[in-house]
Symmetry: C2
Subunit: 451 residues, 2 copies
Amino acid sequence: VKAGVGGPPLLDALRAAVGEAHVLLGADAAGYEVDWTGRFAGTAAAVVRPGSTEQVVAVVRACATHGVPVVPRGGGTGLVGGAVPRAGAVVCSLERLTAVGDVDPTTPSVVAGAGATLAAVDAAAARHGLAVGVDLAARDAATVGGMVATDAGGTRVVAHGTMRRHVLAVRAVLADGSVVGRVPGLVKDAGGYDLAQLLAGSEGTLGIITAVHLRLVPRPAATTTAVVGCGDVADVLDRVAAARRTGPLLAAELLQASGVRLVAAHLGVPPPLPEPLPALLLLLEVAGTPDDAAVAALVGGRPAAVALDAADARRLRAVREGHAEAVQRAAAALGRVPRKLDVTVPPGALADVLAELDRRDPAAVAFGHVADGTLHVALLGAAADEDEAALLRLVADAGGSIASEHGVGAAKAHLLHLIRTPAEVAALRALKRALDPEGLLNPGVLLPPAP
Amino acid sequence: VKAGVGGPPLLDALRAAVGEAHVLLGADAAGYEVDWTGRFAGTAAAVVRPGSTEQVVAVVRACATHGVPVVPRGGGTGLVGGAVPRAGAVVCSLERLTAVGDVDPTTPSVVAGAGATLAAVDAAAARHGLAVGVDLAARDAATVGGMVATDAGGTRVVAHGTMRRHVLAVRAVLADGSVVGRVPGLVKDAGGYDLAQLLAGSEGTLGIITAVHLRLVPRPAATTTAVVGCGDVADVLDRVAAARRTGPLLAAELLQASGVRLVAAHLGVPPPLPEPLPALLLLLEVAGTPDDAAVAALVGGRPAAVALDAADARRLRAVREGHAEAVQRAAAALGRVPRKLDVTVPPGALADVLAELDRRDPAAVAFGHVADGTLHVALLGAAADEDEAALLRLVADAGGSIASEHGVGAAKAHLLHLIRTPAEVAALRALKRALDPEGLLNPGVLLPPAP
């Protein structure tokens, strides 16, 4: 980014763009300068909170004029430093764009501002017996704009795919200040390259999403929730296959005994299965209410807790969803910031990856969406950069991905070559140059610095 | 495209790339120089039939060296001149890349060569109780590569979305001869911009897809098929809503009495409802076998034919699927080539569009996937370019799309501005320049010539 000349100083231009009350500095800005884990942090030139797409345009133009990068920020629940200022960037928080439109029950779909939380959009959908097709534990903070920008996954991917599959259209501000995308969009529109799909997963490096048009899915009327104890990875995969046979599989979450104990202590509840816990536990959610024989087939004679009602199901899910906070708390007690890896591990490599993880950091906690291969890893011990890199390399060599959720961010940009060929990286760079030739939007994220 | 220097003459280079038997000239090439309707045609420098991704690379390199454009071609079922040579281009037919891999019943998904037909891939899926999520009448000719490149729709969009939603990964050759995309891909991989989703719907202008990894959907065990007579568009929309209430809606196809008579005569069968036919007929497919009360609610007291068995259902579907051929035949009898428009019409504008169509060409036949707004129009009368443009403008002004299926092609590139803002067209142009700076791949398709 080259500094512009003329015009008011940056802060004046930003205040003109969004109003004085929405330009935050110093202590007011501090909460926007760090990610959820505390691992990634920087100093912002300012934090701005535009109230409309037009104000986002004005922010982008002001930053372009002054040669200052812009970092778009949603709910701040990312784990890869993708929404944290670097080098005095301006953080553009979309938190005020919270409008949720009327649900169109026919498509079915809904339009929401980028800053609307998943919980808010899902609540609107629920009033029509519908749901957002993606669900995740951070639903009260994560915004739909951020979820599209990072192609969020979560627990329901096995049933409905990742966030991009639900995107019918987005409105976005490009680096040149132009606005693209018709919202609401059409279910069918083959009129040129799909900018919405290109922006989905681009982590704010190609444009700033200000509104999304999301397809909705039917809300399952009844769900069977169970935690099943498993001896090893093979046993887990066997139970996932059994769950697929039982009914439409909504979620299959792998947990470790160590993680479950951490969460139970954090929540002050007993573990879902009696001690001694099996090494691995599997949280299964299947649509419908299978009969006793089907539940028996699902459990397959293993130790299990099957929810009898919605409260039971919530308690079982809480053990899964409490992992992030419990891990954070445990790390803090050790005076550490956890290193978090979110990777895709092919089923055949899962046992090896868990073993290597245990070897490098016996205190590590792993959990994830085993049906689609996502493994969330928190290194709580004294793991070093080289341990992290070695684990990511192991995953990549096994045919997995070093970025299953949250995106590449700043954390893994230098390792993108592990999963993308030089030709692919060159193509991604060409696309970035095409839409953001000055490197205004979220520089340092997704792509490594040019060689 | 600038002519290169040195190296063998073009034809020698192409023969070296794919073997002499797979470089077609003259009469052998004729079938590749025209589209299905006969409306779009050109003369190719040669037609090549590579047998591997590596051979596609060699073809692209040879053409780049000689400054000759490349037009990728799938099954040749497009209707917008998207796969027809212009200005002495080389046609690169993917017809030999027909391999269909083993179905992975877990994901569930399958890998297929770009030249595999929809029917071939769907047959492989059927052996596992699965289906390709997109279905269309041209299934025996349309290839999965072409379907991804044009983001094909068809009759099942209301249930499963368009082709891009089923794409997990593609392998493609870019204009610089580089190969991108890992096939099979992963269900979860947030590692950078999604090239597969950018190539989907790019109509061969950004890369040549050589293999696709497609998600599969469950094959519905039982389907209820009915044709319901409707008085007007409001009645049609009312019945579509009723069908949504009856069960998961798989298809809702709008037909006109005139089109149904044309098809019945062409097939030598009676129309599905007794004469006098209602003005509009609606072919509905609903998953499951609703009871008598549900069928009565579906039909709502209107004249109707409900399939009692699979043979009945096939006969009802044949009336829908026979439209393309019957229209082509009727036009030929008039000594004309039909003008075909494939547009998305918002429900509120459908009656107006049909009325304007009738006013401009009383012989026109319209049919389509009414639940997602797709209207296929065949102008059989003496309609002129101005009639076609006026109809497309009407659709665009109503908030629809001039390109619901088949893409923009060469036919509508000059009208892209009707549905895309200058900023959006500029962004599309920037992406094209980024990946194909010399304009080697399918020039004249999708984007209008630079101003």
